[in-house]
């Protein structure tokens, strides 16, 4: 999947993100594509869902990204008895001042890691998802804006595990991307075993970019050029999902927008100022899989379905 562009003349200024990517790659070994997708997701201003078995490095990745991007980080461990107020915060009565004081919850951070989000009840899940959608929290009649930038990296265990509440379709749609980390390859795993636990190493990372720079980067990403033939390509892909009998329903226009902005971020990470079809194909699985259900199994689309989809659409 890594098709590093050779468009030398188009390479932008030295990217702090090359360093971010490589340093994250030293923490999560052998997962360059996934790290790149995660970073692209954050640059595109979207929220990220990481789905995998416990112990695959989900939390470590989120932690490492927060450190590298210099973002204020908080972590919420979702459990079945977690309440919405545990996320958004509570007001407590201060006897000496005779008034209520709002204690902000862990959601008031720039990067929120929602660990094992599908272990909480739907009510609690939706409290977080509303915050994601609106960028603000309404608690006890008062609306409080969340810090900017605001990212959520949620992790979840595969839905068929015991004691989980799978996220409904509409809430899955709020995540720009969903990625799976998967088992490391043998060499990466050997290196991991030799070096010991990686999560502690993540704490030693220092930020490569200041939080104030991030909005400018996001703006640059949004301005990456998408030529008419490329827009046609994105539209054709989205349209193909709507006529493909293998899927229960097609991608929404919002998914089309998500696909394009993710492709922009991917192109920007490559140092390009224009989106090419490769960018679209690279981000398509992460953007589309959790939004499509297959007619045969009823589950989310598999990698093969996306490959087949790509192969059914000609590049304009």
């Amino acid at each position: 999947m890594m098709l590093k562009s050779k468009l030398s003349a188009l390479a932008g200024p030295p990217q702090p993100f090359d360093q971010i990517l490589s340093e994250a790659g030293q923490i999560i070994l052998g997962k360059h594509t996934e790290i790149r997708l995660a970073v692209a997701c954050l640059l595109a201003g979207g929220h990220l869902l990481i789905e995998d078995l416990p112990g695959m490095g989900k939390t470590t990745l989120a932690h490492a990204l927060a450190r590298l991007l210099g973002l204020q980080f908080s972590r919420i461990q979702f459990t079945s008895d977690l309440l919405p107020a545990d996320i958004t915060g509570v007001s407590i009565f201060e006897r000496d001042k005779s008034e209520f004081r709002f204690l902000p919850g862990p959601v008031f951070a720039q990067l929120v890691l929602a660990d094992e989000i599908n272990r909480a009840t739907p009510k609690t899940q939706s409290a977080l998802l509303e915050a994601m959608e609106e960028g603000q929290v309404t608690a006890e009649g008062q609306t409080r804006p969340l810090p900017q930038p605001f990212f959520v990296i949620a992790t979840q265990n595969p839905a068929h595990q015991i004691g989980t509440f799978p996220l409904p379709e509409s809430q899955l749609d709020r995540f720009l991307m969903r990625i799976e980390l998967g088992y490391p390859d043998p060499s990466a795993e050997r290196a991991l075993l030799a070096a010991g636990g990686q999560r502690n190493r993540a704490d030693t990372l220092s930020s490569r970019i200041s939080p104030t720079e991030l909005p400018a980067v996001q703006q640059a990403v949004a301005q990456v050029h998408a030529a008419p033939p490329l827009i046609d390509y994105v539209q054709a892909l989205v349209d193909a999902t709507r006529h493909d009998p293998a899927f229960q329903h097609g991608l929404s226009p919002r998914a089309g927008l998500a696909l394009l902005s993710a492709a922009r971020a991917w192109a920007w990470l490559d140092g390009r100022k224009m989106v090419i079809p490769d960018d679209v194909q690279a981000v398509l699985p992460a953007v589309a899989r959790h939004r499509l259900r297959t007619t045969q199994t009823g589950g989310h689309a598999q990698m093969e379905d996306i490959t087949r989809l790509i192969r059914s659409v000609a590049i304009p």
Partner: protein
Amino acid sequence: MSTRADQALERQASPWLFASAVATAAPHVSHQAYWLSALSLLLLLWAVRLWWKDERLPGRWLLILLVVAGCAGILIEFRTLFGRDAGVAMLVVFMAMKLLELKSRRDAMVVVVLGYFLLLTHYLYSQSIPTGIWLLFALWLLTTTLIRLHGGPSNTGGASLRYAARLCLQAIPFMLVLYLLFPRISGPLWGLPSDAHAGMTGLSDSMSPGSISRLAQSADIAFRARFIDAPPAKHKLYWRGPVLENFDGTTWRPHTGQGAAAALDRMSPPVRYELTLEAHNQRWILALDAPVSLPEGIFLNAALAATQRQPVTERQRFALAASLDYRFNADEDPQTLQRNLSIPAQANPKTRALALGWRQTGLRPEEIIRKAQDLFAAEFTYTLQPPLLGPNGIDEFLFVTRRGFCEHYAGAFVFLMRAAGIPARVVTGYQGGELNPLDGHLVVRQSDAHAWAEVWLEGRGWLRVDPTASVSPARIETGIVDALAFGEPLPALVQLRADWLRNLRYRWEAVNNAWNQHILGYDPQRQRELLSRLGLPDTDWRSLATLMGIVCGILLAATTAWTLYQRPRIDPALRLWHKALRQLARRQVHCAPWETPMALAQRVREQHPELGEAFQNVVDAYLRVRYGDANDNLTPLRDAVARFEQ
């Protein structure tokens, strides 16, 4: 035998095939044997059931058994496997059987091609407007099915229907060119010689009690006439068919020998008209009495009946003229007169006695005719359902039953005249007709079939006497509907008394007539006329074929040009890119439509390392031009492609 996956028929294509099969075969139900239709329907339902339940298709041996049984049935029914009816029946049954064998796309193609062929066979039976409309619909459905078969999953039914409709519409100019310019052969384009003309209704060449009243119960159109001069009054419209001179006691038959040519004195100016005769499989032309100018190939016999050499097996058009008042054969040869006096020796003694009585009282012939007419006018009833008559039929009719249709009156009258010594004969044909106010055509139906009498008087020649006019004057003045009592078995179509219904019928018949005259009636002569009007006189089939080729070529070129013009302007960058791809294809590296340029470059680097860099340059330049930001400079790409080609 297993079918390869890429050849397998998609499940969703089957309903379209079933619908196409029904649409193409259905009109044959109206004329083929019931067991054939039932068998085909049964096979179709079986195929639908198998498809619905997703069950296994029948095995090969069962199919072979079915084919043998089907052929045997057709052989028993038609005594042959060839010819029009047997051939069509076979195609219909085989089409239904093929539906039980829909495994691969190839099988589906067989059904579609068979369907297109079956469409043509309908024209062997009917060329009416509803048939044409139905077949257009079937053509549309078949074409849609064909598109569905090649469409793939992203191709929806609605889109296929629209696409097929567009294709059919695009074929119209070609259809017109072929219709107008294809060398015409005179004779039926769709008719077949052997079994095509059986079962046509029309006047027969003999008359016995009941023969015309049976015919009069049909509403079929016998012919149409369009008067160029002012149309004559209805009671003068006698359309002459065969003249019957020989009587054997029950049946009247024409005289077969040749007589002298008819001598006709016109006593009124000719009335010109155009006659469009429906096929009736006989040689006579129903010309208006008395015909004075005949087109080439039509002859008048001694009894003034117009005939042609070949039976009328298809709709034909004639330009004719008639003189309504005439004197005919004032000097008849004695043989003919003798023949028209003979009556069977023994039969009908009472009638004979009556006529003899008139003759012996010394009445003049005119008075005898008047007496006979008065007799009929007195107490006879005009009816389509006369009682059956025995061996002395005329006696029985005149003295007992006194109920009859025109053939009874004409026969009895002629018998009376002959018995009274006046030469007389029966003339059959049609009387009257109905003027369609919408297109000005006079429509004459089988229900207007009629029989009247002709008597020969010294110095005046043959005179028409219509005894029916004495019994029921309304029959001659206004038509058969008013002449018969309510409840007589006249066809409903003829009886329409409600104005709006009658108007609807007029409209429908006018449209049909226009269709017959202008579309089906486009014969070699009309083709020549059209071409000479276009400035191409004296065309033979060779020049026609050339002309057709030229026009079709121009049409094709125009369509191609239009398509090319309509095609979105291809991006010059894309054209250069395709050029590079063709270069790659020569080295056996083919770019799939979904493959990105970068992925392709990667592949080229792996498969042909020596090309890797040159092609990467092409890719870089192409991506920059095509996907870059407002970069119209094609030079780098052109250079890169040129370098790559070296």
